[in-house]
């Protein structure tokens, strides 16, 4: 498959690995902020290939994992309303909220459907004119433009039973928050791949400028990740901090202007609640007033009840890169993919789920 296979060639990977080993002298810490990178790093065993002086941490890169219990409870409360069809991406269904999950709601008789695209949700709205179809809009900037496009399409086609619960979040503010928390001293950041295809590389400039941290935008194949690490090592060894793009075939410095325009037409920034981190100003997106007729929060009256956090779950500190799943006493004991306690174990990109499935294995 073009643009995939050629970036998986093992012989070239080996050379990159050799070069990283040769050039990297300092002990450094790198963090990735994208669930897709978390999965790739494990799938290809990248940690095992890198020299021991390079430590790789996973940050809050999984939009399912960072959705707070309060927000999840809202979605579940909406599911219980009469004549409502909830449409959601698959991973969200199993995440436990304060008292329940969308999957449990479904087994109690609520109409909860997994969709693969906001287009599917719109189609369901067209096919069920007597019901209210609510799309659970989680995601980062990779996905939010698609939701914006969906809303504009619904407006154009005069679909009046389609709503979005906007739980979208944006990356650069959360990256700043993690850095400001000061819990982990980072030397370099593996910048998100497809978020950057939309927002470009300029939004990360403040990290290189104000924090002296190397930034490189990476793709998802093994050669992409290794090239990114190579470029990060180069910046760090030379103490020359900047924002570079290793994933040049997918990401341009200015991003995708059309996608940004649609996002800006429909959404405006708002505060957002991040699991494990709390409220982060201007890190979320809500529908502009012009589109309030699509806004689930404004059109439905719900009372989700008081929020309850999961006892013992360390998703919060894992999301901040402060601990790994191996530090969590629930990991593999009471928290497994079949019986997850927190979202990091549910989402296929969650750090705990990735550690569980791919193993922290030493030959």
């Amino acid at each position: 498959m073009k643009y995939i296979d050629e970036f998986r060639q093992p012989e070239l990977a080996k050379k990159l690995v050799d070069r990283i080993h040769r050039n990297s002298t300092k002990h450094i810490r790198l963090m990735e902020f994208c669930g897709g990178h978390t999965v790739s790093i494990f799938k290809y065993g990248i940690r095992e290939l890198l020299p021991g002086n390079i430590e790789m941490l996973s940050g809050p890169g999984c939009p399912v994992c960072v959705t707070s219990n309060a927000d999840l409870d809202k979605a579940i409360a909406l599911a219980h309303l009469p004549n409502v069809i909830i449409t959601s991406f698959g991973d969200m269904i199993r995440v436990p909220g304060s008292y329940s999950s969308l999957q449990s709601a479904r087994s109690e008789g609520c109409d909860v459907r997994i969709v693969y695209s906001v287009l599917d949700a719109i189609q369901i709205a067209k096919e069920n004119p007597n019901k209210s179809v609510i799309f659970i809009g989680i995601g980062f900037e990779t996905t939010t433009p698609t939701v914006a496009a969906g809303i504009l399409q619904a407006e154009q086609e005069e679909i009046d039973n389609f709503y979005v619960l906007s739980l979208s979040k944006i990356c650069p503010p959360i990256m700043k928050s993690i850095l400001d928390l000061g819990e982990v001293r980072l030397n370099g950041i593996v910048c998100p791949g497809h978020v950057s295809a939309v927002i470009g590389s300029h939004p990360y400039q403040f990290i290189a400028d104000n924090y002296d941290i190397a930034c490189v935008v990476a793709g998802f194949e093994p050669l992409d990740i290794l090239l990114c690490v190579d470029m990060l090592v180069n910046q760090i060894e030379n103490e020359d901090y900047k924002v570079e793009i290793a994933y040049r075939r997918g990401v341009r410095p200015e991003g995708n202007p059309q996608a940004l325009k649609l996002m800006d037409t429909v959404f405006e920034t708002a505060g957002a609640d991040w699991r494990g981190i709390g409220a982060v100003p201007s890190s979320g997106l809500r529908l502009r007033d012009t589109y309030e007729k699509f806004d689930a929060e404004k059109n439905f009256d719900i009372d989700p009840g008081p929020v309850r956090e999961h006892q013992g779950c360390q998703c919060g500190s894992i999301l901040r890169g402060v601990s790994t799943p191996l530090d969590c006493p629930l990991f593999r004991t009471s928290c497994t993919p079949e019986h997850p306690v927190g979202p990091c174990m549910v989402s296929s990109e969650g750090t705990c789920s990735t550690y569980y499935l791919f193993g922290d294995f030493d030959g």
Partner: protein
């Protein structure tokens, strides 16, 4: 939340396109990349093309990787 796959555009129909990945076909929206041409590749995410793959840059990156490989020999 970044799963996006390079897919080849086989035909365009207004704001939709038929693309293929390894022989598997799919109908997607090109609302976010309306300027795409048949034959180009897009990054496909949840039913939408979010970016057009830059073929020249892909070649440049491959060249760079091959250069690194040669330089690292011996």
């Amino acid at each position: 939340m970044c799963l996006a796959i390079p897919a080849r555009v086989k035909s365009i129909d207004g704001l939709y396109a038929d693309v293929e990945v390894g022989g598997v076909g799919r109908r997607i929206s090109i609302q976010l990349t309306p300027e795409v041409q048949v034959g180009e590749y897009v990054l496909l995410h949840t039913g939408y093309a979010i970016s057009i793959v830059d073929a020249e840059e892909a070649e440049e990156t491959m060249k760079l990787l091959l250069e690194i490989a040669e330089a690292t020999d011996g």
